[in-house]
Amino acid sequence: MSTSIAPARSSVPALAVSLRGVSRSFAAETRGERPKLVLRDIDLEIAPGEIVSLIGPSGSGKSTLLRQVSGLDAPDTGDIRIDGTPLLGIDQRSAIAFQEPRLLPWRTIERNVELGLPRGTARAAGRSRVSELLRLVQLSDAGRLRPRQVSGGMAQRASLARALARGPGVLVLDEPFGALDALTRLTMQDLLLDIHAAEPATILIVTHDVDEAIYLSDRVVLLGEDPNAADGSGSTIRRIISVPGARPRDRADATLALLRAELLDGLGVSSHHHKPAPLQTTVRFDTF
């Protein structure tokens, strides 16, 4: 697939993201109970242009962490910086694709993607960028449809295109390929890497798919509660694994199999170290 994508008018260069001592808890539903600590002491430095995957069991606070990074929610303690400047609310240098597509039901797919364009984009330039993005996410024929007329996976790709439309310095993706079939998923992974090569951005991506994490990222961050700590102690970074080799990686690379086993281990999934598991099997831990 060609990625001759016209750069966004105000395309931001990739920016560093820094999290220091980030914690977030939520007030308990019932009175008298302690607040629920979700994230505890998260320290993470992401270099400009780096791709970092975030994996962890369901409910471990991955989406919550992404909301902190995109400024939709503020941590109780700690600070978050983009390109060295502290985050104050929603930051236009970053763009997010939510776990759900969140498209406006009364707008066409095309006009939903348009919403992601940076403020002040000229009409013609905006239109050509939108149609280019729709072509890249294979939705050219669906541009005129409403969200309720497209499948869940199509809506998810539209939501990805909307985030890409911004040409952000930091791209925050919450399970962007979760609703896609295996083949489309691989295509979209390659698309993301192509766009990353053409328009470098710092990418923070949540996934449940270990193979996807290894294939896409420079580093994989494992989020989860310390099994030895008391219940409700909040998720921390359990492990950070650097993926060796440059992209594009060979999906069948045997050296990555060890990494895969290590990650599955970290997630508490028995991976049978002695006989390497087949690489193409996708494991979704939230079903375990």
Binding site: P105, R119, R148
Partner: protein, 294 residues
Amino acid sequence: MPGTNEGVAEGSNTEPSASLYQTVSQFGYSAAGTALATPQRGPRRPRWLSVLLGALLPIALVVAWQVISASGLVPAYRLPTPISVWQAAIDLAQRGLLFTDIGISTQRVLLGFAFGAIAGLIVGSVIGLSRWASLVLSPTLGGFRAVPSLAWVPLLILYLGINEDSKVILITIGAFFPVFTTLYLGLRHVDRNLVEAARAFGLNGIRLLTTVQLPAVVPALFSGLRLALAQSWLFLVAAELIASSMGLGFLLIDSQNNGRVDRMLLTIVLLALLGKTTDALLGLAERWLGKRWR
């Protein structure tokens, strides 16, 4: 309410088939989850057919009416024939009374409805969007809403006298609350996820309002407007029955005093026609706005 749903079926048949749909809640939409849609109905019905089907029952009613009154089953002084009602209409029109009554009643309804709807739009938006305004104003407005609107009549007549003002204001009160209530509730139920997504892409203030919040409440708003219109006609008749010297309500009470059942029936038919016509106009406005805005 009669006639509210016509035209809905037509618009939805042009969609291609897709297996997953997003849920549409009563007040606006939800971005969350996908759900199976209601099954598609058969091929599109031509317009003339739906007009014909809709006209079937009224025609049958008139025929039955004619048969019953002409056969003497019910005496003519209780149920005059449709033809004599028609003649009463011509008679009134020739005396120049019919169109003055229709005109003045329509004017009262349109004025009262417009004032009430605009006030409802403004107050509903403010209270629906601002927590502070809601905290300060909601209880008071709730109290006023609890007063049956006709209870205002004696006060209005005392303060304003028996004139246009008191009638239009009564209708304004009747039209205000449905618009206010539906808009206010609609705005409070706009999917927070959608609002958050739009804010994440840099929308706020007026742009957020016109991009997400108002389009999301268009369906709720129009059901409020239609309720308000029906209320307006209701309060018109009430106001005119109580104190007036012109208008359809006056025609009713006057005919009652003179024992003119044909004119009473005529007024009922006229009210039905006027109510249905104005409601249909609102329906057209809704469709037009739906196309432009969304």
